[in-house]
Subunit: 421 residues, 2 copies
């Protein structure tokens, strides 16, 4: 009880959780991902301030609530790593890789162009950051639509899911590069090519190194842990590895979430066969309650931090619309990457549209990174207008995908039936 926990944190977290679950439920019932509801729940709490109820404004800057949300996103990337099957990723291979690279490159370019059009005065790095924010596909909603349509075992689904995983990795490496570039940028936001190369090298080396070294060390650790009988040893060990790698990534100047993702990849095939009473299934089950409480806090907080006043300016709305268009059109380049037999190109392009977690992490990180301009003034890489536009892009791309994807797969089915007749 020392250093007195501010009770506001307790009631704030309670309100954020209730908002997350109510709004998340509302969206899930309409076939939308819960994360959208959580975002809008946060924006709603923020909107209360415009209506004169300012109680929850303090949560936006509360250090403990912020830390809980960040621990949530570390846990989220750990889970994503756990769910990414390295060997499966290597199998879907070339087609997914080409699809992922084509989609991320085109989205990056169009995002940068939109930012240059609407933020001509912003430093180059800030505009590059917007482009980078649009790279990664959030595959959850697509996977859900394909599963509901009974199409999860098709070539189309395999290509999309493989590409989405590669997307995440590309998105995280670019994030590491952007973070390093911003931190090493001189006055005026200049970028040195060698600095960018160095960060990219570090990020890739870290991911590969962590997985290779981890595969040697982790089995020993779990063999040791297998001898422990106490409650929660498996969970505590897994979370400790996740946090330790997150710290190591941060110590190398990368984002902490890259370490968490590496920890997930590492434990994915994890050596749970060494633990007679524990199975891999258990780790996901044990993590679930922790992530159900912490992860929504991150997304509600992202929503809460959106400056709603920004949208009173038509230019801000136009920027949000342009960014959404860039995000949608950029991913249609994925269709060009589809290789040979059986995959529905149109569905691949549309299925890659949704943006989600990674974009919001970009928005959050960008809001906390400061750039020094030529006059020596500092400003965040992601200014409030850009922050709002990125959140809007996430919302719109996610809402647009299910109907578009249903139409495209239906169209593909019709064509196949006509061919069969």
């Amino acid at each position: 009880m020392s250093h007195g926990l501010d009770p506001l944190v307790l009631v704030g977290v309670a309100v954020m959780l209730v908002a997350a679950k109510l709004c998340g439920e509302l969206f899930e019932r309409r076939g939308q991902p819960a994360v959208l509801g959580e975002l809008l729940g946060g924006m709603l709490l923020g909107a209360l301030a415009l209506a004169g109820v300012g109680t929850f404004q303090a949560l936006r800057t509360d250090a403990v609530v912020g830390a809980l949300a960040e621990i949530g996103v570390v846990i989220l990337l750990f889970e994503v790593g756990l769910e990414s099957d390295l060997s499966e990723m290597l199998k879907v291979g070339v087609s997914s890789l080409v699809v992922a690279v084509a989609g991320t490159a085109a989205s990056f370019a169009l995002g940068y162009a939109a930012a240059s059009l609407f933020l001509p005065a912003a430093p180059a790095l800030a505009r590059l950051f917007v482009g980078a924010a649009l790279t990664a596909t959030s595959v959850g909603i697509t996977a859900r639509v394909l599963r509901d349509a009974g199409k999860l075992q098709t070539a189309t689904a395999r290509v999309i899911l493989g590409a989405a995983v590669i997307d995440d990795v590309i998105g995280l490496v670019i994030l590491a590069v952007m973070k390093g570039a911003v931190e090493s940028a001189g006055a005026g936001g200049g970028v040195s090519a060698s600095a960018v190369g160095w960060v990219a090298l570090k990020a890739v080396a870290f991911l590969v190194g962590a997985v290779v070294v981890g595969k040697l060390v982790v089995p020993q650790l779990f063999r040791g842990a297998g001898k422990l009988e106490g409650r929660g040893v498996l969970l505590a060990l897994a979370v400790s590895i996740c946090f330790a790698l997150a710290w190591a990534a941060a110590a190398l100047g990368l984002a902490a979430i890259i370490g968490a993702f590496a920890a997930g990849l590492l434990l994915e095939e994890a050596h749970f066969e060494k633990l007679p009473r524990h199975t891999k299934h258990d780790l996901n089950d044990l993590l679930a309650p922790v992530s159900q409480l912490l992860v929504p806090l991150f997304f509600v907080l992202v929503g809460l931090r959106v400056e709603l006043r920004v949208f009173a300016r038509p230019a801000a709305l136009a920027f949000a619309a342009a960014l959404t268009a860039a995000a949608i059109i950029g991913k249609q380049a994925c269709a060009l990457g589809v290789w040979g037999r059986g995959a529905n190109r149109l569905a691949v392009g549309l299925g890659m549209i949704p943006r989600g977690e990674v974009e919001l992490i970009y928005a959050g990180l960008g809001a906390s990174l400061l750039l020094t301009d030529a006059q020596g003034a500092t400003e965040p890489v992601v200014a409030p207008t850009t922050y709002g536009a990125i959140v809007i892009t996430v919302v719109l791309t996610t809402l647009a995908t299910p109907p578009a994807l249903k139409w495209a797969t239906g169209r593909g089915d019709k064509r196949e039936r006509q061919r069969d007749e």
Copy 2:
């Protein structure tokens, strides 16, 4: 990611978790409660500073680590509340109540006497606080010993377990009173009887009020929640109720944990029959991973915050020894409270000896409460020497109980067999 989470928090939590699980395991294997291992694990991390490794000293005062630990203790009291069966408590009734009151009163008086002997210069309130810290029995270790001996269904066990639950409630009410008294104390640490009465009234009214109002409102809430299908709704709702009541208690000037305990009592019989897919069992299961990660942080932090240098002074060791003696002798008054048929008086007195969570919460809270003396200087209610002595008392009373209790129950069996022959 805004407001940059200090990566030290991540690696610190990882190290604390590993220390907790390793040391906890070591103690559990020897038939001791894991909480002792967690305490000593924290003291070990603190001892590294004496050995020149100061890395973990920053954790003692880190706001985020402190907040995580406090959320841990809120979750712990919520679990204790969930496990306390109100109707069972009313059944064991009179005998347990008399045992609890006799034990807490004697421990309070002896603790106050020990503090007066060793800290003659301390304000009356600080000495009363030490007495209060000794009141509550930590029944976990006793329950474990009785269960291992196959004696959990005996009259002795029922009296001990009932009294321990009542102890917790008495301990929490006294805590609320002490906190209120310290906060309303004038210069010189004076206490007004009306202020004490007012806080005691508030604490009891809050517990009763929360349970009564809650029993009316919670069924409606869960009936509503039963209609939600999203992941983690039950857990999020339960934790939100816990945090909201913790906040309400804090807003009334009580300790947040009293609200968490009330929330547990409230949800104990909870209205999970309204939730077809959820059972009460589920809530305990869902809370377990959260509590396995957060609760050990609290106890490791308590250990880490012990000023080991204090024990270089013989007077500090003597105070710790006197406090331990007061704690042990005080609970022998419980034997006087045992009423009639079948319960082993000696075993009841010995079984009530262990101190644990509530004492450590007193130590932590006391370290953060400041008293102003007659000269206008402020000092914590629980000074470093007292803090260390309370922790030592917890360790020694817990270590002493299992052998003493085994001896007493064995002796009781022998006498019974002799009577039967």
